[in-house]
Symmetry: C2
Subunit: 297 residues, 2 copies
């Protein structure tokens, strides 16, 4: 990007002791399309820069679902943490077929950078989230300390949170957590469809976007929390596969203090499940975000 | 009603330490139409009957809005209180014109019993909520103590909560609270349209459904909490009129311990506002609901 694009404010809502604002801008990472996001800022009377938690939503969602139904703001305000809610895909790319299915294309960007020619111009949600949004928001003078970032998400967004955390060579995020993440996408229908659709190299190329694969090769200290519900139909259908992720983590030598995977009896895949454990997750990240420097183990 | 209608369970979601269930039944009060509602029950390991808080939603809403976005369940579970979410109107009555406007007819039942002939068969939300739903739920053997009921709501639903509370001759509800209630409907466009549309006697008949009118004649001890936001556009447009309600309450001799009306700086009309004060409201009602007997002042 040459020069930061202008952020247009679309709406704002006071919520708890903070403000949720919806913005729009021309996204270079998404091929020049308009991109929207929500940003929750705590009132932060001291005025110092605040840490930020990035929330990635699931299939069919937008930047609104987590904001409206996640139940994150009370605890985020009390912990003086910002929350950034990106969208889940580019909108209006015009690629033939992108609107045919609910689990591929629009609303289903999978937080990767596409390599198939028809998708490569627009479907670059990985760059959008890890590089572009921090730059654009910082350029707008919003008081976020980007050296203190963590990331979490739901379902496809849980996959995004775990993989962007595990694949960062710069330790961009201090911690990652997920609600019912697609934990081993190269081994489930949703992930297979996405990787075969977006990536020239198909499933083998998808390995670098697969949390179970990534953690098997990890060596650094990790801070990961995962929750899933035993009443989750997508879990029962083998789309989530948290056991694969957990086994891979343990095989790689990570104990429950570094990688915690919790099975929650009876909860399903909905935001009712997410809101139940929202406070846990924000507090988990606060442990790391509120330290001035990256803690070791 | 002769014999209680059968409750059909449509879905259920575990949320916090409780369960949200959506039901459907043939509603006599609504002229035999199918009616839906959501019911949150705390896990309640003791098994004794629990008190219930009725939540009435606003214009265009259904039984889902408060459940999905209100942020009530964490505190309700911790206080061992059930929450009942009725719909906001009959659905599919087939009255000509009922679907023409978003602020009248479907989604806008105003929690009254209609007297105009074309609406009188179906638009009886007052009876639906105060008489029918408790009967139907009790008949299904659900462990609610209907002697311990309170009521709250948002906007049109705040109007419903205040008026059903104030007009009950049997002290059906122990307390009432409201987020941005339509407080003086005979004096605002939404209320005028509703009362002229549903009631044979128009605005004069509407006085018995007007919280500001009702409280001017009240003599019993009251437990009322109202919040509204100064950034609420409907407040600015004169649809909410909380000052009229407050003046009427004070003129009738009610002090801030019996009728508290709080102006919340910068909050708007959305569920972001509601969720911010959700915990306050549930705790307010818990004060009264958790007493075995109706407390005095």
């Amino acid at each position: 990007m040459s020069g930061a694009p202008v952020l247009e404010k679309l709406s704002s809502n006071r919520v708890f002791e903070g403000e949720l604002t919806k913005y729009k801008f021309k996204s270079a990472a998404l091929g020049g399309l308009d991109a929207q996001f929500n940003l929750f800022m705590p009132l932060n009377p001291g005025g110092a820069k605040v840490p930020v938690l990035v929330y990635l939503a699931g299939l069919t969602c937008t930047e609104d679902n987590g904001a409206q139904k996640g139940g994150f703001f009370g605890v985020a305000a009390s912990q003086n943490i910002a929350i950034l809610f990106p969208d889940t895909s580019p909108r209006g790319a015009g690629v033939p077929g992108e609107d045919d299915d609910w689990d591929f294309g629009t609303g289903a960007g999978f937080y990767i950078n596409a390599t198939k020619p028809e998708y490569a111009k627009n479907y670059n949600m990985a760059t959008h989230i890890t590089v572009e949004l921090p730059k654009v928001i910082e350029a707008a003078g919003i008081a976020i300390d980007w050296k203190r970032q963590s990331i979490f998400g739901h379902s496809m967004g849980g996959h995004g949170a775990l993989t962007l955390y595990l694949s960062s060579t710069t330790k961009q995020y201090r911690s990652a957590s997920a609600f019912a993440p697609i934990s081993n996408p190269t081994k489930c229908p949703w992930g297979e469809k996405a990787f075969k659709g977006y990536l020239e190299g198909g499933l083998p190329e998808g390995a670098k976007y697969d949390a179970t694969e990534l953690i098997s090769k990890a060596t650094e200290p990790l801070h990961i929390l995962v929750d899933y519900g035993t009443g989750d139909n997508f879990y029962k259908q083998g789309q989530i596969l948290p056991e694969n992720f957990l086994k891979s983590a343990r095989d790689a030598g990570y104990d429950e203090f570094q990688v915690r995977v919790r099975s929650q009896e009876g909860y399903d895949h909905s935001y009712y499940f997410i809101s139940t454990f929202a406070s846990d997750h924000v507090h988990f990240h606060a442990n790391f975000l509120k330290a001035r420097k990256q803690p070791g183990i």
